[in-house]
Structure formats: structure tokens, C-alpha cells
């Protein structure tokens, strides 16, 4: 499926912006949790991106340094490119990133401020302590889902060297003070040589 070519008016940009503003408040547990909704809207409903462009944007942002939310910038970039120019692509980046960040950031800032001011309250302390076990479970579950290919039919489930690499990384970084970049370099090297 080749990239669609679009004629984008201001109301299209507005639609995109408003949609990302809504997704921002729905992105509980991280922007990545709204990926399927973005795919439905951008690819299936509006036809602004091809499925390949969408999947490549997510994969590229995952393998690039920085927060995973940057895949949203690439989605905006590609929507802009499909409508014809680099200027449009940069507008797409700005509109999608501001849209996805603004509401959640303002909201979280206010809540965090409130929680800090009232940090001696029994309810605030109970919330922070009470969430701790689940927070660890969420991290381990995320690691599990990433290691098994995000639940997309379990694409890595039979690749035991890859599993071994994930498990070895977890143990080495947990038990030693080795810098993370050494493990990433090792992973890249083993992958490039075709070992995993």
C-alpha cells in the first residue's frame, strides 16, 4: 500500500489537533497505550497514512533514543509529507506533539502539585504506597509484552536466543552497576551479526 497523497485544509489540521488533544487525556499508562486508536483514526477512518507508514513510525521511534511518545511526532511528520511539503511535515510534527502533550501535561502538573502540597495526608500516602506493587507489575508486564512482540500473535515466542538476551539483560542490569549503553551495544552487535 503506497502512501496516500492528500490535500490538507485548515479544518483537517484542526481535526487532527482536536483528536490528539482527546487521546492525550485517554493515554493512561503512556501514549503507547493509545496506539491502536491512532491507527484506527489515521489509517482506517481518515486514510491520512498507509499502514506501512504507521507501523514504520512506531518501530522507528522505539529504536531511537528518547521517550516513546516521539512516534506521535513521526505520525504528524508523515501526514504532513503526504500532503506534499516539508513545511507541512513540520506543521504536522508541531500540531501532533502539542496535541498529545498539552492536556496530559497540564493535568499531571496540577495533580502532582496537589499531591506534593498534601503529601502528609493519609489518603495521599496510602495512594503512593498502595500503588507501588501494581506499578512494579506494570513494568514487568510491559517488559514481557515487548519481549514477546507486543502480543501481535507472539512473533518472537520461538526465538530463544532473543529471549535469553532479554533475560540476561534484566539480570545484569538488576544486579550490577554496568552502564545500560553497554548492553544496548551488545544487543545491536549480536543482532547485526545474526546471532539473535
Amino acid at each position: 500500500m503506497s502512501a496516500p497523497s492528500l490535500v490538507f485544509g485548515w479544518h483537517d489540521w484542526l481535526n487532527l489537533f482536536v483528536h490528539f488533544l482527546m487521546l492525550s487525556m485517554m493515554s493512561l499508562g503512556g501514549a503507547i497505550s493509545t496506539t491502536s486508536e491512532m491507527q484506527r483514526y489515521l489509517v482506517e477512518r481518515q486514510g491520512w497514512l498507509s499502514q506501512t507508514q504507521f507501523a514504520d513510525s512506531v518501530a522507528l521511534a522505539q529504536s531511537s533514543p528518547g521517550p516513546n511518545v516521539l512516534f506521535v511526532a513521526l505520525l504528524g511528520w508523515n501526514v504532513g509529507l503526504n500532503s506534499g511539503s516539508v513545511t507541512a511535515a513540520l506543521s504536522g510534527v508541531a500540531i501532533s506533539m502539542i496535541g498529545i502533550m498539552l492536556p496530559s501535561t497540564v493535568f499531571t502538573y496540577q495533580v502532582a502539585q496537589w499531591a506534593q502540597r498534601n503529601r502528609e495526608l493519609r489518603a495521599v500516602r496510602a495512594f503512593k504506597q498502595g500503588m507501588a506493587p501494581l506499578v512494579i507489575a506494570m513494568l514487568l508486564a510491559t517488559a514481557w509484552l515487548l519481549a514477546t512482540g507486543g502480543g501481535k500473535g507472539g512473533e518472537h515466542t520461538d526465538n530463544w536466543p532473543l529471549w535469553l538476551l532479554t533475560a540476561a539483560t534484566a539480570i545484569v542490569i538488576w544486579r550490577t552497576r554496568l552502564h545500560l549503553l553497554w548492553m544496548l551495544a551488545l544487543g545491536a552487535l549480536l543482532g547485526a551479526l545474526g546471532v539473535v
Binding site: 493512561l28 522507528l60 531511537s64
Partner: protein, 204 residues
Amino acid sequence: MSASPLPKPSSPPVLPPADPDRPRPTSLTDLFVSFTLIALQGFGGVLAVIQQQVVERKRWMSNEEFIEEWSVAQIMPGPNVCNLAMMIGTRHFGLPGAMSALAGILTVPLILVLCLALVYAQFATQPQVQGALRGMAAVAAGLIAATGLRMSVALTKNVIPLAACIAIAAAGFVLLAWVRMPLAAVIGLLGGLGCVLAWRGLKR
């Protein structure tokens, strides 16, 4: 705690760290640069790097403080690590600190990912490049698991008995990773249970 500045309604409070001997970021520039460097080391997720740098190397906060901030950052809407960076910035320099940390974690990585998108087309089909990305993704998954395991030390100081903590964490893992129950339902169920247990444990 009596020395903590009472917040005026107009200005957000800048709170002193719990331990006065603890190092802290020296300036807004320090925050920006620190978070830029943290973000640039974070392939496939930044949390592992934030924990290692902020808790174990820079020692801006303890493991217990970190997990408390992270529990708020992770439950709130929005990208978790951006929420966390913003909250750490706020702790030290209020709203300007929040903006510096957030700008630090996003700006340079954003420029980098756009450059990467520009050159991606030339290299995407090479098997070595695909292999390297696959290897790095496997390591990134391991890093997230290691962060969870490291933070689990904080559970021994939790008001909830350790056995109950482990039971909640295990149930959460099964529901999220294997049953694939929606996050909001798991937070309501197990997060609610944890809060009730912690509430009862906090005698005050």
C-alpha cells in the same frame, strides 16, 4: 518539615528534598542538560536510565521517593517518563524546573528521530540494520524488567506486608501480560486493593 515554605496561591511551592544532605540539580540548565543526556541514552524507553541516573548516580532522590513519584507519573495520563521528568523538575525549581526537564527530555530526541526518519529509507532493508534493531529491542525489554526488579526493593519498606505486596504484583503481572485485561480495570481492582491495605496500614 516545619521549615517547608507554605504555598502562596499565586506561586507553586518549591519543596526542599526530604534529606538536606542529598545532592540536587544546581540550575535549570543542569536539569535541561541532565534530562537531555538521560533521554539520549534511552533506546526503547527512558525509565531505566532515569532510575539509574537520578537514584543511583546523581542521587537526587531515594529509591522509595522514586517509586512514589513514578506511581503518580504512571497512573496519570500522558507519556510516563515525560510526567516523571516534569515532576522531578517541579520538586527542585517549580514550574520553570518542570519546563526545563520536559524540554530536555523531548527537544534533542525529537530532532534526532526526525533525522532518523529522513535517512531510514536508505537503510531499512539491510538485514544487519534490522538485526541490530531487533537485538536492541530485546535489550530494551530486559532493561524495563530490570527497572521493575530494582524498584521492587522499595516494597520491603512499604506499609503493606511484603507477602501481600508480592501477591498483588504477581496478580497484576498475570492480568496485564497474560490475561490482557484493560489497564484501567487492573488499576481499579489491584490499585484499589493496594490503597485500602496501605490506608489500613498507615496508623494516624
